[in-house]
Symmetry: C2
Subunit: 231 residues, 2 copies
DNA sequence: ACAAAAGTGTTCCTAATACACCCATGA
DNA sequence: TCATGGGTGTATTAGGAACACTTTTGT
């Protein structure tokens, strides 16, 4: 591989940063890690890290996420590439950001092997601390994208188990959009999309059992209005 | 600047590639350059190049565009970051792609000082040759984004002079979306957005003069639903 | 006077909204 | 039997789509 031309000038570093969302209880949460080393030692930040020379961008995002937090098998989508000159005090670092949605029932306890992480935690979007680097901006953008996509895609299903009730789904929308939704209108709209299928199972609880639904097709792995990249 | 940690591993190169759209005659055109050097010597490709270590991403895109084609003062928006391992035969190159809209009346004749470019040309989107690298994919994505944004933003105004008739604007929509639009519905919708303002000037021609309009506010420089980054 | 583009309203249909009661179950 | 969440329909409104003729100018 002839890299001579490419090596003429000093290069920036390339990192990935990942905004992982999940719904826990009645809150939308983001996965944060407490940095164990400078810069920003002791401060909260997004999971992420430098990509390897022989590694796909998405692969790097998934690897970092798994190494740092044990989270696997998730919906992943590229967000935006942040490249301000001074976003990292160590030098020029360009960060390709991703957003990830994960069903909280599939999350296992954190087992991180990384020495430079002192803590991993799910933090409510309402109670975010100030984050390292420009990660505040990245989270803000990710949240915007999540809310926006919820309106015209079925992406929200990535946050639920395979079988769920319509009330579960509505609660998810209400939490993410932080607003109440009319039950009848919500059901009408969701069902008219034709993406849900009744199972023959009911969820039993303290009260009237609720029909469980499942998503019809293979879960969507797309990035922009159904357009699939780099696959 | 402590770059020791960053330099432990070999780094990918980072490039920008730019899809520049304009309307000429009755066609949507993209700016292409014919490569003068390997790889892909003699083949058409998008304008672009490697970023410098002390240069903003957007700045690099604008610089490359200006150096290669003389195009300046344009609407610029980040598209997507392509990073497949083998997208460049020279080695690992990650490309941050941008899309640019430029009013064709503001384009000056090309004066490129770069030795590695043998030709610069505006090519109709209908007659694109097969492009170098993964640039076909980038153009496809850019076109998709342009069509999509046209539906819910005023981004199309970037392709027109400051003053324009409603017929000019409608023609622009028809060319980009490649479909006829009803004149009355189009005017109703555009005017109801409240973003246009009548000038007191008429465009004289062979027939009945048409009212010239202009855009009300500062032209939008945004990347995603009005959200401004890195600014 | 005529050719050519400018300009203008109404009807229809679809989709979003607002809104309230009965049902099935476990305790 | 009652407390709790599950489940259902209709009337109104707003926005998008279909559709044709008159006006103004230059030649």
């Amino acid at each position: 591989m002839a890299t001579s031309e490419l090596d003429k000038y000093s290069k920036p570093s390339v990192a990935v940063d990942i905004v992982v969302f999940t719904i826990m209880g009645n809150e939308l949460k983001v996965l944060l890690i407490k940095r164990g080393q400078p810069p920003f030692a002791g401060q909260w930040s997004l999971p992420g890290g430098f990509i390897q020379i022989d590694e796909q961008l998405e692969g790097a995002a998934l690897r970092e996420l798994n190494e740092e937090t044990g989270v696997r098998d998730v919906y992943l989508e590229q967000l935006y590439t942040f490249g301000n000159l001074n976003r990292d005090p160590r030098g020029r670092v360009i960060s390709v950001s991703y957003f990830v949605l994960v069903d909280s029932t599939k999350i296992k306890p954190f087992v991180t092997g990384k020495e430079n992480i002192s803590e991993v935690q799910w933090v409510s979007i309402e109670k975010l601390p100030s984050l390292a680097f420009d990660h505040d901006k990245i989270v803000k953008y990710a949240l915007r994208r999540l809310r926006y996509k919820l309106e015209y895609t079925a992406v929200g299903l990535e946050l639920l188990p395979d079988n769920f009730t319509l009330t579960d789904l509505q609660r998810l929308y209400e939490i993410i959009l932080s607003q109440k939704i009319d039950k009848r209108n919500f059901r009408k709209k969701i069902l008219s999309m034709g993406i849900l299928e009744k199972t023959k199972v009911f969820k039993k609880g303290a009260h009237r059992p609720a029909m469980l639904y499942k998503f019809k097709k293979a879960k969507p792995i797309s990035t922009f209005r159904g357009f699939k990249f780099e696959g």
